[in-house]
Symmetry: C2
Subunit: 339 residues, 2 copies
């Protein structure tokens, strides 16, 4: 399969606040290195991404957010002059006023919902490359290929139109979907099978019917992102009925997961989607340190065969997955079914 | 003056996320120790607080929040088994669903809006003592005294009915105000002169007209808490017009600050308040590391004289102030005018 990947992902290595500590993020450069090595060894066809189309990004993210992300590190350096990662410490939580402050630290809070990721010197450059990777994979499918894989890092599905969080800055899957639409496709479906709800993707397309967003994930009552991903969230206005959440119990096994995937595929088949984005997280894996599902490597091939049976032009975009030593094999097992 | 203080404040020493680091909180036990030492040397009349009236606290905070705060550390210990402070890493920020998760870490996010404070083994005990301190100061005024001072720590004015943040867990000033009302007083005014907006106090009384809440603070476009404190926030429903915010520019000097205090006092005088709470933060001080105002020690006596000229029974409740070496003298200078 044609694989799009950039070495510049490694520019972003950041700290995350978790378990009451600031520690190196589980979303590490090593993840992408292992995926790349495994796929290279398996003989996949590697390409570097083209330049990111800023006009495309502006259809998914607000200009205000793009300006913020692109300048945040320089402003942080100017304000504090040291190399600590740029992080907020207050957020416009429930009942607070969602008005954008002028102050940088306040703006970081305004433009985020989590402290599990932070902005360092080249975060913006890495985020651009991750988005360009997804864009180039979409372009490959637009040019007639059945499938393409975007090894995007940092991941994207938690990023909303103007907020980062969950290790995500630009929504790579959403950008790929928009690219497909812009090529003349009328409707795209996104199936997000990362362990965590794709809250950013949901929010971006929540009032649109040209993208059918589906997410299968751990119940947000129990797992990050906690404040989105309930079954009752079905879209609004024009998008009413065009968002489908299938939250699953902690500890879900392959049979129950497959069942949810089958439900999703039936829904996608009935919505006349002409192309598909798979937001693929490998954190449903049995040994994932952030997950609780019990999916095994060979299950990824089987689930991918089900998804491939839709016979839609398909862009696979990498999201999470933190069982680093196994992540290459899990991705390879998934891609295998599309060959 | 009768001073209420508890040594148990020292049970709470926590970490805060700021400038991209987890560090010992600027809201330190040393603050209260220095205030106590200075006031003892000045001959003030020290008393320990009585037991906190839980029914009183339940008029200010939700039972759900009280249950959460009182059990959070035990649950954290059970979940992780180590001594890292209990902290969230995601919050129900703009556009996210304000639904309370079952998971502890999700609940910490739900019940907070900032990562500048964290829950440790005895945070709850310290918070109870701080609230009891304010309650006892209110009781002293109810029993006929003109004034009383509550050396409450941790502070309270950022705590809403069900969210902690800004170093605050229980809203001591709000609890004192409620105590005054419960004694038969019809209307209480709260003047909050901490450097930071008293967002919790505002939120708690936002739809009530029995407490007139006034806050003079640095403009939230520039300073914490960023997402509350604008002049347009005037209360709602029954409380419409019963909240007054006077945001001031970064770097405000005594003349401009005095002007805002005078405006506040005129408003309070016209609202037939029968008692006053002063939420006193010393972080307007010229050398405060978290502030930018240029107020000097002697200015606190002058401003207190203005406030005392209202001739209302007055409970002074300690809020912020982080110029630790000067905080005792600043508090003493403020109290002096009420003698």
């Amino acid at each position: 399969m044609r694989v799009f990947a950039s070495n510049n992902h490694g520019l972003h290595t950041a700290l995350e606040l978790s378990r009451g500590k600031l520690q190196l993020s589980a979303e590490s450069p090593r993840r992408a290195e292992i995926i790349a090595n495994t796929l290279l060894n398996a003989g996949h066809d590697f390409h570097t991404p083209g330049d990111l189309d800023v006009a495309l990004v502006c259809k998914i993210h607000t200009p205000e957010y793009i300006n913020f992300l692109s300048s945040a590190w320089t402003r942080w350096q100017k304000k504090y002059g040291d190399d600590t990662p740029a992080m907020a410490f207050a957020w416009p939580s429930r009942n607070l006023a969602p008005k954008r402050p002028d102050d940088l630290v306040g703006q970081i809070g305004y433009h985020s919902f989590a402290a599990d990721c932070s902005i360092v010197a080249d975060t913006w450059q890495a985020a651009i490359e991750a988005a360009a990777t997804a864009q180039s994979a979409a372009d490959h499918v637009i040019s007639g290929a059945t499938t393409a894989y975007a090894l995007s890092r940092p991941p994207g599905h938690h990023a909303t139109s103007d907020q980062f969080g969950g290790y995500c800055f630009l929504n790579n899957s959403a950008i790929a979907a928009q690219r497909l639409l812009d090529s003349g496709i009328d409707r795209v479906a996104i199936i997000d099978i990362d362990y965590h709800h794709g809250n950013g993707t949901q929010a971006i397309f929540y009032d649109r019917s040209d993208v059918f967003t589906v997410s299968i994930h751990a119940n947000p009552m129990d797992e990050f992102p906690w404040f989105a991903g309930h079954a009752c969230e079905r879209g609004q206005a024009e998008g009413e009925g065009w968002n489908l959440n299938l939250p699953l119990n902690v500890g879900t096994d392959y049979a129950a997961w497959l069942n949810a995937v089958n439900t999703s595929l039936e829904q996608i088949a009935s919505r006349s989607a002409q192309a598909l984005i798979v937001a693929f997280g490998a954190d449903t894996f049995v040994d994932d340190p952030l997950g609780t599902f019990t999916i095994r490597t060979s299950d990824y091939t089987k689930i991918a065969q089900r998804i491939a049976s839709l016979k839609l032009p398909t862009v696979i975009v990498q999201e999470g997955g933190y069982a680093v030593e196994a992540i290459g094999e899990n991705v390879a097992a998934f891609l295998e079914a599309f060959e």
